[in-house]
């Protein structure tokens, strides 16, 4: 496999992580706590889409190997994730009225509840969307790039959502209010912004993006009650690497972590090819830089970046 091939794989995997990490970072910057239920919000989106897609079917045509019904299911999945998150905020987080540490702990409990509900409904076994798997795009195979049309759809949809969020944050009234609130909630409130409403919208957008990430994760891999939770650690790494609370940082962090994860086989072949001296160092590196430790390598790089920039890639700039 060529470097291009690994980069392509990395791009697909990063797209999913980016969708997850943006939502997490957004909620952190405005609702002001690290939401551990974020991974399971992704799972909710994925399973809602599964049920919807099962109910509506293909709806005739298909784009990029994906039936129209899947896109409808994607929208319903996003909506369901948003509704569940808003309901949780209204019913649990808001009435609790505790500090961000308390909320963090609460959200771990919420994560278990989400997962348990899904497990009761769907069992603990894995499943997939009823969409025919595709072979790699023939035209790209000679370049060593082995991606399917589905992968293209994942990257494309992620780009649309990310650009959409950028436009929303920079050019709309709501976006300006959100940025104001992330900067200084008290000042925002004093200047007449209805902070509660903005907070709700933040939940809608953050959880919606997580829902989309979950649906794509299900398409990319498979659906299982633990799918989101298993990815949560990587998402947190991405968010912290990017600079927590910063949406653009989360994008960069998610992209980097996903890339490093998928590029590890390339790194390991580079290490094997390089003439490293002395010999014991070469052996050590060859043993350490293997796909077995892909996540560990990503985390080491994260720590290294944080040593240089303690506030993450996006540094001081909030939102």
């Amino acid at each position: 496999m060529t470097v291009l091939g690994y980069l392509a794989n990395g791009l697909v995997f990063s797209s999913i992580i980016v969708l997850g990490s943006i939502g997490l970072s957004l909620v952190y910057s405005i609702a002001d706590f690290a939401n551990f239920a974020h991974g399971d919000t992704m799972t909710i989106g994925a399973y809602t889409a599964l049920v919807t897609f099962g109910a509506v079917g293909g709806l005739g045509g298909a784009v990029l190997g994906l039936p129209y019904g899947f896109f409808l299911a994607l929208v319903v999945g996003i909506a369901a994730a948003a509704v569940v998150a808003v309901a949780t905020e209204k019913l649990i987080y808001e009435p609790l009225d505790i500090d961000s540490i308390g909320l963090l702990i609460t959200s771990i409990g919420i994560a278990f509840i989400y997962r348990a509900v899904i497990q009761i409904q769907f069992g603990s076994d894995f499943t997939r969307f009823d969409i025919r798997s595709l072979r790699p795009i023939e035209a790209l195979v000679p370049y060593g790039v082995r991606v399917t049309l589905h992968d293209v759809a994942i990257v494309g949809s992620a780009v649309v959502l990310v650009v959409g969020l950028h436009v929303l944050l920079q050019y709309t009234d709501l976006g300006r209010k959100m940025r104001a609130m992330a900067d200084n909630p008290d000042l925002a409130r004093v200047s007449g912004i209805r902070t509660k409403r903005v907070k709700l919208w933040t939940w809608v957008i953050g959880a919606g993006l997580a829902g989309a990430g979950g649906v794509f994760l299900g398409l990319f891999n498979q659906l299982a009650p633990r799918m989101g939770f298993n990815l949560l650690l990587v998402i947190f790494a991405a968010v912290i690497l990017g600079g927590i609370g910063s949406v653009y940082g989360a994008m960069a962090g998610g992209f980097l972590i996903g890339m490093i994860n998928q590029l590890t086989p390339f790194f390991s072949s580079v290490v094997e090819a390089l003439p490293i001296w002395p010999g014991w160092l070469a052996t050590l590196l060859e043993n350490l830089i293997t796909i077995e430790y892909a996540n560990a390598i990503a985390f080491v790089i994260m720590v290294a970046v944080l040593l240089v920039r303690p506030n993450g890639i996006a540094g001081e700039a909030a939102t």
Binding site: M1, G5, Y6, N9, F13, I16, Y28, A34, F36, S100, I101, L104, I108, Q119, G123, S124, D125, F126, T127, R128, R132, S133, L134, R135, P136, V141, R146, V147, T148, H150, D151, N184, L217, F220, N221, Q222, A224, R226, M227, F229, N230, L231, L232, L233, V234, F236, I240, I244, G245, N261, Q262, T264, P265, T290, I291, E292, A294, N295, N311, E316
Partner: protein, 441 residues
């Protein structure tokens, strides 16, 4: 400026908390690596003594000699109801329910058999907690458990070892369980699978093989046994972690290794992900697999034709035997699906336990230790159902007068607590498993 510093402090606290919470979340995963000399073992051991006190407490059971007690005999089971091995847990529970209804139709000296099931979450810590509850609080003298080999071993070392409690694992096939004669199991050791796989791959004419295995006790031990036995060259041999969201690195490295035969020693979910990635990357190879990669969930969740020609060795029930067929018939009537051998193992665990209880003088671990191997051992009259075996025992027969032939095989535990097993070679044809051969383990 002051705002900035608080902001910074917030971040720092958050980083700490995130790390801490992450560690907590991970600690469960970490413990899946087998740690034999766990420091808490000593304490657990003494807890175990308390457990046997509990047994003494249930002296009322002695009253059963008087045949007037109607309280059920309660035994325990640790099963993977959730977690990565929950598919096995579901299969086990079907077999267990069927076995319980068989036993309780007849009864054990007029009493019922009750089974307290606890969840191991497919992990060592969960398994130990479940076993501690059953053994130390409920005081069960007979413990069926667990699915994962690491979990079975963890339970044995932390809870059961040093007590009289009988532990019978329903599904563990890890090789190192053989080293613990006190830990019985119903499913045959994976060593026989590794040997069979190496023979099959050699016979098929492949002298190079690429292996990927799940990064735990089970995967490691089966792979080691395979590498020892295989005559050809192992050109790629790499572990992978469970429950990752992508294995494309693994399959692309296997492809780069140049081997035409790929061996997978992993679990269904992981294997299904890999197959989908192999398919969507357009790689071609001859697949081989251990029993843990087979399952309807794999067929349902992989593209049609993507694993055709794959060969899998599975511990198998003697499917041509009459008692298995009657088991399969009632299983299908009950659950509307074919039984798996994992259900058959769990079924036999319960029947074997029930017979051991009936043959024993009293309902204690020490007494059951005496009978558990003998009721299904090679001596005595060959019987194929609980009812027939129970009749012999009720007529005054001892444990050596009965040789229960399980639906999963002849059982016949050897001195290491391993059963005589049958292996079946399956080939995937038109996206269905077809048995093509039998091998005796």
């Amino acid at each position: 400026m002051p705002r900035d510093t608080t902001d910074l402090a917030d971040r720092r606290t958050l980083l700490k908390l995130t790390g801490g919470a992450g560690l907590v979340a991970l600690s469960g995963c970490l413990s899946t690596t087998d740690d034999g000399g766990d420091g808490s073992d000593g304490d657990d051991g003494s807890d175990g003594d308390d457990g046997s006190d509990g047994d003494d407490g249930s002296d009322g059971d002695d009253g059963s000699d008087g045949d007037d007690s109607t309280e059920a005999y309660e035994i325990g089971m640790v099963d993977s109801l959730t977690g990565s091995l929950s598919a096995f847990g579901e299969r086990n529970q079907r077999g267990v329910e069927l076995a319980l209804s068989r036993v309780n139709d007849v009864g054990i000296d007029g009493r019922e058999l009750a089974l307290a099931v606890e969840d191991s979450e497919s992990e060592n810590q969960g398994g130990i907690a479940a076993a501690q509850k059953l053994v130390n609080q409920d005081g069960v003298p007979f413990l069926i458990g667990a699915v994962g080999s690491g979990v079975s071993l963890a339970i044995y070392e932390s809870v059961v070892e040093g007590t009289d409690v009988v532990q019978l694992s329903q599904n563990s096939t890890g090789l190192n369980l053989t080293d613990f004669p006190g830990l019985l199991r119903m499913s045959p050791s994976g060593r026989s699978q590794s040997l069979a796989l190496s023979n099959i791959i050699s016979e098929d004419g492949y002298d190079e093989v690429a292996i990927t295995y799940v990064n735990n006790d089970y995967g490691q031990s089966l792979t080691d046994a395979f590498v020892d036995a295989y005559e050809g060259e192992v050109v790629y041999n790499s572990p992978h972690d469970q429950e990752q969201q992508s294995y494309s690195s693994v399959v692309s490295e296997m492809n780069s290794s140049g081997a035409d035969a790929w061996l997978f020693i992993t679990y269904q979910a992981e294997f299904a992900t890999m197959v989908n990635e192999v398919f969507s990357s357009g790689y071609e190879a001859q697949f081989y697999g251990a029993d843990s990669v087979s399952g309807d969930n794999v067929l349902e969740n992989t593209p049609e034709g993507s694993i055709d020609g794959m060969k899998i060795v599975v511990p198998s029930a003697p499917v041509e035997e009459e008692n298995y067929q009657s088991f399969a018939e009632s299983f299908e009537a009950e659950y509307d699906r074919q039984p798996t051998s994992w259900a058959a193992y769990a079924y036999d665990c319960v029947i074997n336990a029930a017979l051991a209880i009936q043959a024993a003088d009293e309902f204690t671990g020490a007494a059951l230790q005496e009978t558990v191997r003998r009721v299904s051992g090679p001596e005595g009259e060959t019987v194929t159902s609980f009812e027939a075996a129970s009749e012999i025992l009720a007529d005054g027969g001892g444990p050596d007068d009965v040789d229960y032939q399980g639906v999963s095989g002849p059982i016949d535990f050897d001195e290491n607590g391993d059963p005589v097993g049958f292996l079946q070679v399956l080939e995937v044809q038109e996206h269905e498993y077809e048995g093509i051969d039998f091998v005796e383990g």
